[in-house]
Symmetry: C2
């Protein structure tokens, strides 16, 4: 009846998970040891220090939450908010909406600053909301909106939060490792990410980091954190420094082997190089898509390189194309969410997936499937590939 | 500075994680696919059906929470409780205490029924509490107290809950797969477990199951579940049946490969055989420990086979012995928790770790370390091993 599961070998160019490096897969298969083993404690220290490197922070409270990114989001909100608090929340996609859900489930009030899906956050509108709500104690926004492919100006937003005496809360699920992100220099107070995007680790872990100001708020809460599992006052006892660790929960040992290896790969490459690689792959992809006369949804000035929202041409069945890419090319891309359902494809170039081979594969596959779908336009795959190659060649020459 | 982490090859005989089978390790290293991939959806269905097998239930709402057992515990409480509810909570160890924490963080009231650590739950006292608090809507207890090695009479307690119109909430973190547990036959309403105990998967996943009665309570809540991540009303949309799955969070794909493989191993062996193997290993271990004239803490009638609380003999430094077992024998056992700190060792025989080789290794190692520690008593390792061998031989003969 049942048998071992042997997954197909996909190329993952959706909104995440991204392709996981064989090094990371191998790490996860190493023998499990105890979560209080001295060697594991040593690994935890290394992971903390590598996460500080990835986030560009010296924050002591920097650690991987033992659950996916949505739990990392919840971790930040339940620790920082108390019932009755007011938070200004920016929403220009699905994940800003999820922040609102989290704020309200903490018994706090979310003041929403909305921008259309596909556009970036309007900083003036945010400032107005902060002026209108002087009681607000936090400003929350998404750095890289995975639902639309939009980058927000995290540096300016964090500075604005600070100017109005608010903690800045940043969703960096899709940004960490893929685009510039400097927690300390930008004055970010609380940030969460995910393992399965530009870190290219398996899904299931959420790196978080809290500034000293945020930690002070957590330590001085009037009410208890509503989640026992995510209560940083308790988690600190296990992840905190020193040789004496108190048991809180059993860490996901093998998943953390994987995270460590993925952070190591990022460390070997260097942050600047990783950011440059993502940008270069995106430019090549955009050139190739442009050559097919297909549009990208997002304005160039705030596009994410790692998540490309490609407009579905008129007369094309978006789901049928995705299904064909998966069945015939073993290539996964993502659908639109919410109001963009049916209107865009989301093509990820994240971490290990951001490479020249994948860009070429995607352009060939998309062109081929569109041509086979009886699209009215003539599809010239070689021109598309040549446009991408030009970008790669220019980058080589300029090196 | 940093390099890949190569863990030592330990034998895990603590309170969990237990030894992970090479089959499970290999499964976790298979290529990551998307969490909405049709092949992954198929795997999810298989996992659900294998979990139903393991729990002995036909509950539709049976699935693995994407986080460790403590999140599974929280998942059950936040979904079933509303502010102002009253829950009778049995506490005879650390994990009953954690249940109280969870109840209170939901804004509910915990009526505690305490028994001394190391003793089983007093059913008469529980009944009295249910009589004294007719407004109680749930009875919560731990089936296998990992902190003490005590089994509770889950069948009688669940029946009692039902008689008093309460939902029964059961912590089966350490019991699932190791001792008899029948969710449907015993009328259990909500139950959570962990991947890293008798299932011998890597830590990080928490199987849960809810009866129809419990699902009705979740669907008819007056207030929203305080956790977005653990809200079963949302999780059901992703794990529920049907081909249309709505995205909730990104499932920990590779960890679920591992869980699937570990459940498959349990399915191949059969529940009765697994329970019998755990019992047999425990009996051999107990005979060997007895031959060393060392006591087990817990009364024979409610001892857990999979978690043995061994009293530290007078004059022996318990931490030094554990450290020696780890450094010289690569053997991990656990320390006592709470009021049993320094007084017991906790020796696990869970899942893949419950085998003859491990029992012999433990007896040899313990005897050897005690002898080397200058213990006043004479240590006869061969007699201890012979006592264990007798148990194993008897089991062979009686087969």
């Amino acid at each position: 009846m049942h048998s071992s599961f042997c997954p197909p070998q996909r190329t993952l160019m959706g909104p995440g998970p991204s392709d996981v490096s064989p090094r990371v897969l191998a790490a996860m298969a190493r023998p499990t040891i105890g979560h209080l083993d001295p060697q594991f404690i040593h690994l935890m220290d290394e992971i903390k220090s590598l996460l500080q490197f990835a986030f560009c922070t010296r924050n002591q409270l920097t650690l991987p939450v033992s659950a996916p990114g949505s739990a990392g989001m919840e971790c930040v909100f339940v620790n920082l908010l108390e019932p009755g608090d007011t938070v200004v929340v920016c929403r220009n996609g699905a994940f800003g909406g999820r922040m609102k859900e989290n704020v309200e489930r903490c018994g706090a009030r979310a003041v929403m600053v909305d921008s259309p899906w596909g556009e970036t956050i309007d900083i003036d509108a945010v400032e107005q909301a902060l002026k209108d709500h002087p009681q607000a104690n936090a400003l929350a926004f998404v750095h890289a909106e995975t639902s639309t492919g939009v980058r927000s100006d995290a540096q300016s937003l964090a500075a604005l939060a600070s100017r109005y005496g608010c903690l800045s809360i940043v969703d960096a699920v899709t940004s960490l490792g893929g685009i510039e992100l400097r927690v300390d220099d930008w004055g970010i107070d609380a940030i969460y990410s995910g393992s399965q995007k530009c870190l290219s680790c398996a899904p299931g872990i959420s790196p978080v980091s809290f500034s000293d100001r945020a930690v002070a708020r957590i330590r001085n809460r009037k009410s208890r954190v509503q989640s026992w599992f995510l209560d940083m006052n308790l988690v600190m006892g296990y992840w905190g420094g020193g040789s004496k660790r108190s048991y809180h929960h059993t860490a996901p040992v093998n998943a953390l082997y994987g995270l460590h290896e993925s952070l190591l790969i990022l460390h070997e490459e260097g942050l600047q190089s990783s950011w440059a690689r993502h940008k270069n792959c995106y430019q090549a992809l955009a050139a190739g898509v442009d050559a097919l006369e297909i549009n990208l949804l997002v304005d160039k000035s705030y596009r994410l390189p790692q998540l490309n929202a490609i407009e579905v041409p008129e007369g094309i069945d978006e789901a049928a194309v995705r299904a064909r890419l998966l069945s015939d090319w073993n290539l996964e891309i993502g659908a639109g969410l919410g109001e963009l359902t049916g209107k865009i494809w989301r093509v990820g170039l994240m971490g290990h997936s951001a490479n020249q081979k994948n860009v070429r594969l995607f352009l060939s596959a998309l062109g081929s499937v569109l041509a086979a779908s009886g699209w009215e336009r003539k599809v010239d795959i070689s021109q598309s590939l040549a446009a991408a190659a030009n970008v790669f060649n220019d980058a080589e020459i300029n090196r």
